[in-house]
């Protein structure tokens, strides 16, 4: 009985890993045989980014059971800190692989630190109040980066929240973060292979965490805080931990994002609450707590608007309709029941056939 269960989770996780790996292999094969359009090739890294974001958010929403509307903020921190680093060390570290690896570390750590900072209010707040605080944090980060000017010259770093001029740099100075204009000229160090490796890493962390002592503690808080306390689970510690890990993973998503495009700005479009909500859409559509679902939802919903390009001006309207329809299809109790019934019929047929 017990072995069966272990096997079941193991199998389930294995399937998830396999889906990622096989998809990767198929896509690679298509690229090599020249069968993948430029559009799709261009979408590969963004898709990896969003998959990572969905997985990271699912850790908070699905496993910890708290609503975060600020994950774009963590992603933003990861993106900017790593892009900052990469731009700065463009010459000092010529090896793109090493540079990107260090950028990853920096992005993840910085984002995780912000995760802990956000985690503090998380301890006191619940539900929608928590959601609004995470949203607020995300917006603060975005707003702050928009007025942040950082430059470097022979005298070292200069920092200002007014404008480039007040950096007071020597003429040889290099503006690294230029307020709303953000960072330009980040090396495009990421690629699809790296993206998939990072997805696998994120999956590894999230799945193994969930199936461990720590994961159980986090889930027990989700299911019943009072009971968790009564058996001695340290609520503070585990909530913070979940938030920090999730933020760190979101930071990795940000690093991938930042090293895919040559411009990085903290616009509402990239890192605003709308983006956080988009990640939430992935998580909810894929099934709360269901990592494989998150992956699929992130892929489908990132592709969808691109596939709808043919509809021109109606594109986003149709996208909205499809989103609503998918939500109702996957979550409405009547639909679920209907699907269950069909599945049951299907299952029964199979059984009876086997019996024959």
């Amino acid at each position: 009985m017990r072995d069966k269960k272990l096997n079941k989770t193991f199998k389930n996780n294995l399937i998830t890993y396999l889906i990622v790996i096989i998809s990767y292999a198929l896509v690679q094969a298509m690229i090599l045989s020249g069968n993948l359009s430029s559009l799709m090739q261009g979408l590969l890294v963004p898709i990896c980014t969003y998959v990572i974001m969905a997985l990271a958010l699912n850790l908070v929403v699905g496993v910890l059971g708290e609503l975060s509307l600020g994950h774009a903020g963590f992603m933003c921190v990861g993106a900017f800190s790593s892009a900052f680093f990469s731009k700065l060390t463009l010459e000092a570290i010529p090896n793109a692989g090493l540079r990107f690896f260090l950028a990853l570390l920096i992005g993840a750590v910085c984002a995780a630190i912000f995760g802990i900072i956000i985690g503090i209010p998380v301890l006191r707040l619940k539900g929608d109040y928590l959601a609004i605080v995470t949203l607020a944090f995300g917006e603060i980060i975005k707003n702050f980066i928009n007025v942040m000017y950082v430059g470097k010259d022979s005298n070292g770093f200069h920092f200002s929240i007014k404008d480039v001029a007040s950096l007071n740099m020597e003429d040889d100075g290099l503006v690294i973060i230029n307020g709303a204009q953000g960072i330009t000229g980040t090396p495009t160090d990421s690629n699809f292979t790296i993206g998939v490796l990072l997805i696998l890493f994120t999956l590894f962390v999230v799945l193994n965490l969930t199936n461990s002592r720590t994961g159980r503690a986090i889930m027990s808080i989700r299911d019943n805080r009072i009971a968790a306390e009564s058996v001695g689970i340290n609520i503070t510690k585990y909530k913070l931990m979940a938030f920090a890990i999730s933020a760190g993973l979101a930071g990795i998503g940000g690093v991938l994002y930042a090293h895919n495009l040559s411009t990085l700005t903290a616009l509402p479009k990239n890192f605003g609450y709308n983006m956080s909500i988009m990640f939430l859409v992935f998580v909810v559509l894929g099934g709360i707590g269901n990592m494989r679902g998150s992956i699929i939802a992130a892929v489908v919903l990132t592709l969808l608007p691109e596939l709808l390009r043919g509809l021109s001006d109606y594109r986003m309207l149709i996208y909205a309709v499809v989103l609503i329809a998918m939500m109702i299809f996957t979550s409405a109790p009547s639909m679920i029941e209907y699907r269950e019934k069909i599945m049951a019929k299907f299952g029964k047929n199979k059984v009876s056939k086997e019996a024959e």
Binding site: I19, I22, S23, Y24, A25, L26, V27, M30, N35, L36, S37, S38, L39, M40, Q41, G42, L43, P46, I47, E139, N143, N146, V147, D163, V164, A165, G179, A180, Q181, G182, T184, G185, Y257, N260, L261, S262, T263, T265, A266, L267, P268, K269, N270, G272, R292, I295, I296, V299, V300, L303, P305, E306, L307, R309, G310, L311, S312, D313, R315, M316
Partner: protein, 375 residues
Amino acid sequence: GNQASDKTSTAEGKNEVEAEEGTFLIGGIGPVTGELAIYGMAERNGAQIAVDEINEAGGVNGTKLTFNFQDDEGDAEKSVNAYNNLKDWGMQILCGTVTSTPCIAVAAKSSQDNLFQITPSGSAADCIGPDNAFRVCFSDPDQGTKSAEYIGENKLAKKVAIIYDSSDVYSSGITDKFVKEAEEQDFEIVAKEAFTADNKTDFSVQIKKAQSEGADLVFLPIYYSQAALILQQANSLGFETTFFGCDGLDGILGVENFDQKLAEGVMLLTPFAADATDELTKNFVAKYKEEYGEVPNQFAADGYDAIYAIAAALEKGECKPDMSVSDICEAMKKAMTEISIEGLTGEKITWDESGAPDKEAKAVVIKDGAYSLME
């Protein structure tokens, strides 16, 4: 649930414009949904008019143009997607993108492909970083510097206040240079107040700051939707001053139902005025109104000029539609520095190797509900 197989079925992303054999395939990119849609739509429409005109007149050296415009929602990532989509379609020349940040991202890609790119309105300095990238509009630094010079040289004011969008690349880019140039000029910046994309309905504080500092000119390096609100709010606060803006302000008179009295006396440094009396403009405005039911703004004019620049460069570079993308690019790059076009946004526009246009900025003032050229 297999992601990869999903992709194969759609590998040839659908595209509503047929890629016609034997024509030049020109792509366009810009926001036609989302908050910036108005700029993308104007540019698309303006460019389309130019394409139709050229085709009617027999095309470029007898070869017609096909134009395909893709949405990017004003986002860098989506813009790269749009670019790739157009590449799949067979794009040979890119007329885009409309906004700056996406333009920088796309320019990085187009330079890898060595695909000729001319942005009608991507004004950030980096938009023309790679040598395959050109632009039609003035750059942000140019506009900032020129505005400050203009104000200083014409002694329009002693005390200047700035209200700008600190979350916008265009606006903060102009502001930076304006402030810098102001040091050289004989006026003082008494207030520099920001707003953000998330906070752009109420401007009472910014206006009051300018008012209480006694600004005799308010510089508005922003887009006209916000400017319309600022004018309205300044009016109700009884703040009478000169407002001075850049090309983003163009279009303010076209806001439906707008009380044009509010805009009376507003000055702007813009390459295009829909009320100009030259034949070219009159024709264009008439056509635009007929097609799209609106008065075109500067973005439409930029799009129009960009297409004409492309046509001129194609002609000069003796390009053929069956040439490779890279060959077309090389030919056009060279041709661009040799051509001069009569555009809506400048009488004799020429380009240098950097990709920047050389044209005169016109300072216009709104008088009696119409733009009129200032001397």
